[in-house]
Symmetry: C2
Subunit: 263 residues, 2 copies
């Protein structure tokens, strides 16, 4: 099943555009979990079990696992295996932000799709079309190009004006011409104007977004700007405010419902 | 010892600007090595033992290890440990091309410098200054920003004209103003004009380059454009044509001497 179809099914089933970021930070895990043999996996499992009927995707950011070396990465493997054994209908977006040239890009694509077995991956397009092809050759997977990130300094380079347009939009227009079916876009939820520009340019593409604020007004803006005509087509990622909440299930439900209010 | 000092010492000791890329591709390893328990590590070890007195650095590209999953990454760990136990004077550049925002960039920096224990890393600056700081906080390490990659399509986005300058140069000028001591630059050896622009802008910074052609004329151009006033300050990476040569030592020596001819 291709990614788009898989995502549409789970969005409908769970009535949700909420993606939960599985970004376990050892400094923040509860003490009783830290005592276990595989604390990262155990923590993820508890979050997954508490939220699986409220989400449209899970998004592990591989940096949090790499920070713990081979031990962390083996717990990412366990997490993915757990998800695929128990909740195979939920897509896994590996947030790896990879990009390299020719032969090396092939190795990264092999890693994320064949080894990690992710349904989607985040990448940079900055190196050119030839460096995206090895990812896009996996037709059933979604390759998500980062256009506009959510951090404060993201404008320094991403909003440089080229031909009276910001750089992120200029490159988005080139990417659009390439006309790939299985390409998605990333836009930070902190930039609703940019989100709207991207949605207008790609009415039918899947958008991944992150950095959603806690305030209702911000959620409204991001949802309004990001949904497609069917009030869908976007995964809105939340990590910390769910993971380290006293009640992750309650928090995830609250966010899912808040997002749905503005669809 | 900081990176610059470490690099200067080995350049002098081995009279070499040659960096060897440790990019083991299982499809290309000799059959007798594939039969061993840790073929990637054994292959790397054979290359290192054959070339350690001819190089100024080793550059494993992590994609080749990630393609083999945890098993590949554990052999990267063995390779780094082998290098640091036996040839600790040779810097290790982890070619990981990482980039992410705030908290996540911190995790990547922790991974490459604390876990992998690399001396230098390659990163993208595309997300802005705040995303580079976690790497640059490791003062003894070198954080190498990718400005112009060596692939055919690299011009599509990297050479977009901004303010009558190509984008790679425009962002290089901003990066220069940040004035970080422990920042290096990457420029593909296939673009000597771009290399010269970058060297002119950063007369004292370390440059990493790759994609060096086999032809003497190309080597001459890249070396001429990339060396600093002391005829040094650049690591010229070669991977495949050494790794899969019938005689890696002979090939490395030939390349080292060829590079030195044009210094």
């Amino acid at each position: 099943m291709n990614f788009k179809h898989k995502l549409e099914r789970i969005i409908e089933k769970n009535n949700s555009l909420l993606c939960v970021g599985l970004d376990p930070d050892l400094d923040k895990l509860p003490r009783h979990i830290l005592k276990k043999k595989n604390p990262i996996f155990e923590f993820n499992k508890s979050i997954i079990d508490a939220t699986h009927d409220l989400v449209c995707a899970y998004k592990p950011n591989i940096a949090f696992y790499e920070a713990e070396g081979l031990n962390g990465l083996s717990q990412l493997k366990k997490t993915i295996e757990y998800l695929q054994s128990n909740y195979s209908e939920i897509p896994i977006v590996l947030d790896a932000k990879r990009a390299d040239i020719g032969n090396t890009a092939k190795m990264y694509a092999k890693s994320v799709f064949d080894y990690w077995n992710a349904d989607a991956v985040t990448v940079y397009a900055h190196l050119g079309k030839d460096t995206l092809l090895p990812f896009l050759e996996y037709k059933d997977k979604l390759t998500i190009v980062l256009l506009k990130t959510s951090n404060p300094d993201s404008g320094t380079f991403q909003n440089i004006v080229v031909d009276r347009k910001p750089y992120y939009l200029y490159i988005a227009e080139i990417i659009k011409k390439w006309n790939f079916d299985n390409l998605g876009l990333f836009v930070g939820a902190t930039y609703p104007k940019e989100m709207r520009d991207i949605r207008d340019l790609f009415p039918n593409k899947i958008i991944l977004s992150a950095g959603l604020g806690a305030q209702s007004a911000e959620i409204k803006k991001a949802v309004n700007a990001g949904v497609n005509k069917q009030k869908s087509g976007i995964m809105l990622n939340v990590s910390r405010s769910i993971l380290y909440s006293k009640n992750p299930r309650w928090k995830a439900k609250k966010l899912r419902d808040e997002i749905n209010k503005y669809r």
